[in-house]
Symmetry: C2
Subunit: 169 residues, 2 copies
Amino acid sequence: MTRMIHQPDPRLDLVLERIVDVAPELVWAAWTTPEHIKHWFTPAPWKTVDCEIDLRPGGIFRTVMRSPEGKDFPEAGCYLEVIRNERLVWTNALAPGFRPSTPPAAEVGDCRELIFTAVIALEPHGNGTKYTALVMHADAEGRKKHEEMGFHDGWGKALDQLVAYMNKR
Amino acid sequence: MTRMIHQPDPRLDLVLERIVDVAPELVWAAWTTPEHIKHWFTPAPWKTVDCEIDLRPGGIFRTVMRSPEGKDFPEAGCYLEVIRNERLVWTNALAPGFRPSTPPAAEVGDCRELIFTAVIALEPHGNGTKYTALVMHADAEGRKKHEEMGFHDGWGKALDQLVAYMNKR
């Protein structure tokens, strides 16, 4: 059984690619350990106040993000591919156990717009890591909306937080 | 890495369970071979006129069903779990490569209602197979809609066709 190749589609996808001075094993740990997630996952002043991880295809990836005003935003998706230290794929289009998810926010008109699948790919690069986050949407509108919501700034800032946190441990 | 256990939720899921006189290996072949799929997948007088299979997590499962009036209904989902002769899981909530799918029919008001994940589980039973199809929906409304569309009759009839076709080969 050969692995999926994830090729970005510029019409539909957003990509953050960066070299970071943290080894792949530590980036992996940061992404797959609830205690670590709480320290870096959400760009400040937002916080991640809870996290649950069952690291296998179909297993839960649940977070609760808290806004600066104190409002909580729980979300639960599931993992699709788990290749230790190399690749982590999860989606919020499916709930834990692969069940199709309910729309993330009933008040949102287009119920598909906040739905995505994320592929985190790690490659050794010197003592650090070539880090690629590929975020796939159903359509161009979803990509555009996510970009306008500040994808590059948000995911970039979260990655800065991951690097700072893992380097000072 | 332990496997997912798929526990039916009676509020959200539909289940077809049956003992059939076809060995698990042949039921598996029927489900995973495009030429076979065309012979049994769609309850007559509907037909399946095309099928494409890339049998790995994230790989395409595409069918084109033709109505008695000659209208074609293409659909492409992807596999999630592939355990030879034992368990096949796929969904139409994700397109090939794990990308979130676009709604299956733009004209449908609730864009989630035709979305499901199917788990086909096979266990040896004498010379035949204990066959379980578990179909998971996002919400109770999805389950109800699918049931009203004739789930039990349709999936049951398709299974009858699978058995008849594999036994006469």
